[in-house]
């Protein structure tokens, strides 16, 4: 390949990569925004964290979850909170198929927050072995 042609190919490849970086970052922030929106919606449905409908818990290595009952379903709404109080996953099981909003792969992008100390207090109240 002649030198000008090689330079043109290299320049073209760099431009494509730069565009890809921009697109990749845009896709990442759009995905985080959408998931945060859905998490916030389920957070609103839950209401106060210590509401009487709080019925169960879940302890996993990455996060702890609080589960709230609705209309006879003990696990209808679920909020999963990491060690820093970020809600990284929320599940709405009121319908036939669960509606899952999750940012567990990128907890740093989760913007919905709760008081982690309050979560720990509620977990202890439910008998979770903390």
């Amino acid at each position: 390949m002649r030198r000008p042609a090689a330079l043109a190919v290299a320049a073209g490849a760099i431009v494509v990569l730069v565009v890809l970086v921009v697109v990749g970052r845009h896709e990442g922030s759009r995905h985080a925004r959408q998931e945060n929106g859905r998490i916030a919606e389920i957070r609103r449905l839950v209401g106060p964290l210590d509401s009487p409908s709080l019925d169960a818990f879940r302890l996993l290595p990455q996060f702890s979850c609080l589960l709230y009952k609705r209309h006879g379903n003990r696990f209808a709404l679920e909020l999963c909170v990491d060690g820093q109080g970020r809600v990284v996953e929320a599940i709405d099981r009121r319908g036939r198929t669960p509606r899952i909003a999750s940012l567990r792969e990128a907890p740093q992008d989760a913007t919905v927050r709760v008081d982690r100390a309050e979560v720990d207090r509620l977990l202890r109240k439910l008998g979770a072995p903390l």
Binding site: L17, G24, R58, A128
Partner: protein
């Protein structure tokens, strides 16, 4: 040595596991240094068919650039570096093999030896610890042999592409003892795959063997007869895998007989990893069947939906295990168990296209080599093409092709990257 170490790093046994994990990337690095030192020492005049390397280089650049949008920057850097190291080993070996075609034979023999040692260690494990070597039967699954692997599908990943290599070794062996060793290796590989009940590996082994037999430089009648014989062995293997049965539900004691007590831990009643596709309260358990997907269909569907959320560039190279979440009843893996979907998750449609271009370039070079070569070089090219074919089929049911730390990756990629060296040999032959 590297393949053996990677098998240790994926072992059910803690001693093997710790040994493998401590050394796997150091061994890969050492292999890079050794192969490039050998290349520098031999200083061959290289005239490789460049298309697969150019395509692989492009894919690697994409993998590294994905650091800028990755959800786990550290994972992306680490795994892209490991994959680069594997590609560098392949490039150096191909460059040396270009000048010294007998090097291909040595590499392929080493791969068969590594697979045989892994399979024999599985039998040793069966002898010393039945519990570790065999996964117990459950309501869904029959008992399955896993040897030293973490699960029943781990070791067959290596044995399936190694099976056509054992056939190649049999035809190349000069002495009776050599032929007997090759036959024993092939039987050991096939037997281990059958005992594991790994359906994807069985199909991959059949495809690899079929490629090996169909490219035999003999009459079409003989080739088709041999493929029919391979298909008959495959059918017998499948029939054997159906003999063990899962545990009967009546054999499992019901815990409901005790006093009623409210269980607050949701993980005991509704584990997140089994939430989707879970049978109803009184429904019979889902059983693994011959044509069932073991939850893979749901996992693949979910992975496609995840790809659709970041369709162009994906979540970043090497993040497949962090991004994919197993929520599917009957499915037990941290990855979607499909290499092509895995690449799409990591690097989006752009990455998948770039990856398919790499594979297409390898297949094209293999076709060139198979059409033009003769003698021992043709036999080596047929063996490499068979490994690649088996590897690509395995990629449909296992996520491994872009994981340099997986025990099957080196075998498949080294065989793929030796093909350009053999194809370059054809150019010199024709000149």
């Amino acid at each position: 040595m590297l393949v053996l170490n990677l098998a240790f790093a994926s072992s059910i046994n803690n001693s093997f596991l710790l040994l493998g994990r401590a050394f796997r990337f150091w061994l890969l690095l050492e292999l890079v240094i050794v192969t490039w030192a050998y290349f520098a020492w031999r200083a061959p005049r290289v005239r490789l068919a460049g298309a697969p390397f150019a395509a692989l280089g492009g894919f690697l650049v994409l993998a590294f650039v994905s650091v800028f949008w990755s959800v786990r920057t550290h994972s992306t850097e680490k795994r892209a570096l490991a994959f680069l190291a594997l590609a560098l080993v392949g490039l150096a070996l191909a460059a040396v093999a270009d000048a010294r075609p007998e090097a291909v034979r040595r590499v392929l023999e080493a791969l068969v030896a590594a697979a045989a040692i892994v399979a024999l260690l599985g039998l040793y494990m069966l002898w010393v610890s039945h519990d570790q070597a065999v996964q117990s039967a459950s309501l869904q699954y029959p008992a399955r042999y896993r040897g030293i692997g973490q699960n029943p599908n781990t070791v067959p990943l290596l044995l399936a592409p190694a099976l056509p290599l054992a056939l190649w070794l049999w035809t190349r062996a000069r002495s009776r003892a050599g032929k007997a060793v090759a036959v024993c290796a092939a039987l050991l590989f096939d037997g281990s795959i059958v005992a594991s009940g790994s359906r994807g590996a069985l199909i991959a082994a059949l495809v690899g063997a079929a490629v090996w037999l169909l490219t035999l430089p003999r009459s079409w009648r003989l080739r088709l007869a041999l493929v029919a014989a391979a298909a008959a062995v495959f059918a017998a293997d499948v029939a054997i895998t159906q003999i063990p049965k899962p545990v009967s539900p009546s054999a499992v004691s019901h815990r409901q007989s005790g006093a009623h007590r409210v269980i607050r831990d949701a993980e005991l009643l509704l584990p997140l990893e089994d939430e989707i596709g879970r049978p109803g309260k009184n429904a019979p358990p889902i059983r693994r069947t011959l044509f069932g997907t073991s939850g893979r269909a749901r996992a693949w569907d979910a992975a496609v939906h995840q790809v659709a959320r970041r369709p162009v560039a994906g979540y970043g190279f090497g993040t497949e295990a962090q991004v994919f979440v197993d929520r599917y009843y009957g499915f037990d893996s941290t990855v979607p168990e499909n290499s092509y979907l895995g690449v799409a998750l990591q690097l989006g449609i752009v990455g998948l296209v770039a990856f398919l271009v790499v594979l297409a370039a390898v297949v094209w070079v293999a076709a060139v080599a198979l059409r033009r070569l003769s003698g021992a070089a043709l036999a080596a090219a047929r063996a490499c093409a068979a490994v690649v074919a088996a590897g690509l089929v395995l990629g449909m049911t296992q996520s491994y092709l872009t994981s340099a730390g997986n025990l099957a990756s080196p075998a498949v990629w080294l065989a793929a990257l030796l093909l350009p060296a053999l194809a370059a040999h054809t150019v010199r032959q024709s000149q």
